[in-house]
């Protein structure tokens, strides 16, 4: 039973780390500001949620897992809102999207 719990926790941690790494590479390599916003807003939030769900499973049912749940809910609300604010501020400042020539 302990082995099964460890395998599930390692699966969640590994997939979360994969998404965070891919998101970081995306912020580096995309050609335009709006494309980088896609990577930072979506991949980053999903990777964080997966890692924190893995930590909830590791801890079991206690006060720590309730705090982790609050953290996950707050990150799901705050991170896309900050991304939307960035996009709107950049668009109103006149940054043009990238077109492929």
């Amino acid at each position: 039973m302990d082995l099964l719990k460890n395998v599930v926790v390692i699966f969640f941690l590994a997939s979360g780390c994969f998404f965070i790494l891919v998101g970081a590479i995306g912020v580096l390599r995309f050609p335009d500001f709006y494309c980088r916003l896609h990577s930072a807003g979506k991949c980053d939030t999903l990777g964080q949620a997966l890692i924190l769900v893995g930590l909830i499973l590791y801890q079991g049912l206690s006060l720590i897992s309730v705090k982790l749940l609050f953290l996950i809910i707050f990150i799901f609300i705050a991170n896309p809102t900050a991304t939307h604010a960035l996009c709107k501020a950049a668009y109103l400042s006149g940054i043009k999207p990238w077109k492929k020539e």
Binding site: I20, K67, L71, A78, A82, L86
Partner: protein, 84 residues
């Protein structure tokens, strides 16, 4: 068991740091600063579990709020030239 995710997240932070240094314009730098802040939240929680002290979560919760408010404050300052 928690050492490998900690290492991977530190590598990801250094990758995004390149976008802070280059990154033409202020919006790319603000985006990269927000990304570094959100990765730090997960890093604090993981380091707490790594040292068998899971009570570091309170610090991570506070830093999530600080990071969100800080990003919005930077954007408002860029747009209007004053934070009122």
């Amino acid at each position: 068991m928690f050492a490998i995710p900690i290492g991977i997240i530190i590598v990801a932070i250094f990758l995004v740091l390149y976008r802070v240094v280059t990154g033409p314009g202020v919006f790319n730098r603000a985006l990269a600063a927000n990304v570094i802040g959100t990765k730090t939240i997960v890093l604090i929680a993981l380091i707490g579990f790594f040292n068998h002290r899971p009570h570091f979560l309170d610090i991570a919760l506070v830093y999530a709020i600080i990071n969100f408010v800080g990003t919005l404050a930077i954007l408002k300052y860029i747009k209007t030239g004053g934070v009122e």
